[in-house]
Amino acid sequence: MVDKIIVENLSLQYSDGTESLRDVSFNVPEKAVTVLFGPAGGGKSTLLRCLNRLNDLTEVRASAGRILIDGENVLDPDTDVIALRRKVGMVFARPVVLPMSIRENLTYGLELAGEKRRSKLDEAVERSLKLAALWDEVKGRLEDPAIALSGGQQQRLCLARSLALQPEIILLDEPTSGLDPISTGKVEAALVELKKVFTIILVPHSVQQAARTADYAAFFLQGELVEYSEGKTLFTAPKEKRTEDYVTGRFG
């Protein structure tokens, strides 16, 4: 399998010098689900935000290392971050719908990119809602305010919103942490379909979700990458003791 993303010796620091990640290296194969899991404070979310340079808004700086997406280092200051963010979509932990209608939420990114043609926009709306398994539920009320949807629906809307830009990579940071089991199941089912087309990186909110969804898994503990391998093997026969302790619930 081709590697879509290569993380090379990445170290991240906060503005006061404390380390968030230490010398992390791993590969993310394309068209699969790679799971980054571990206890809180492990640096997973921070790593995720480097991939679409969202950390530019925060006090986190990369002190060493590279992140290669399709062979290009996205940490390079000359990178076109706008294009990067369209290529790498993100879904956050709490569903944040923009204060607009469902349709406008979905067309927001496209309109920013300059797309004005009504036909193209409509097509993108339908396509992305179907990918996120939300089309049937909202197709009759696209002009309704997005805030009127339930929590699970809002999160799938957020997923559809990033899909509308036709990214190549999708980052999901604990996307189902506030959702009920049925909604969680719908999102996980959508990921199974989506991974046929997109490269997916998921930070799960539980070890069980990690085990359910991972094709590949990386275990992070306090800023260090402890173990990385195929999902099947990591959760059933982990090599490192720390991984085994966490996966079996001896600490958390």
Binding site: I82, R86, F92, P99, G109
Partner: protein, 288 residues
Amino acid sequence: MMRRAFSINRHLAQRLGFTFITLMAIATVLPIVATVIYILVKGLPAISLEFLTGFPHDGMRAGGILPAIIGTLYLTIGTAIFSVPLGIAAAIYLSEYAADTPLTRTIRIAIINLAGIPSVVYGLFGLGLFVLFLNFGTSILAASLTLSIMTLPVIISTAEESLRAVPQAFRTVSISLGATRWQTIRRIVLKEALPGILTGVILGLERAAGETAPILFTGAAFFLPRLPGSPFDATMALPYHLFVISTQVPEMPIRIQYGTALVLLVFVLTMNLIATVIRSRARAKRQW
């Protein structure tokens, strides 16, 4: 037995305390209501079409106050032209761009100071800079510029507050979808903050409309035979007019004084009402 008495004591204290505070609140609010009603009652008899659309005669003792009304309107618009764009832009800077540096803190202190400067000192400043140094003369332009600087802190503070009230998550999401910072501000933050900003602007302009001291030496005139034709003309204005007719014109009919006060009051209260309505309607329609 002792515990019982203690408990009664505490609740009695509360009962008395609450009553006292409530009376204080009533004593504060009652004069406001009384004032408005009093002016309404005493001023209404003077209100007629002629009063509102006519010019004054006989040394202000008869006729109408149209030039004063128009003058206040011009001054309010003039103030808006200068203070609104500048104030909103400054608020956007403080809310969306400025980091917590000593420079930013200095800006904030400067704004607080502008807010606290006595209105008559603004008048002096306006006289020194606009009327004399820049040679605009006693004019609508000089008075509006003076009033704008005075109104700036009010607009900046309320606008900044409205901008900050917009949830940070919206900005993060917008950026993650490929927006630049300004696109995010224009399409989401500014749009959602607009009602709050508008409320602040109207309240700021309301204060500017009622001020006398800043326009005393910069633009106000007591009697002008016709309406001002250009921004370089002086103008009559309601607050100044009220001041002069109530203190410096002998044998001024009381009815006309109250009438003028009523018109000014209505002007100001209408703005207040509009601002309040905007604010409550926006709160109901909010999607977050």
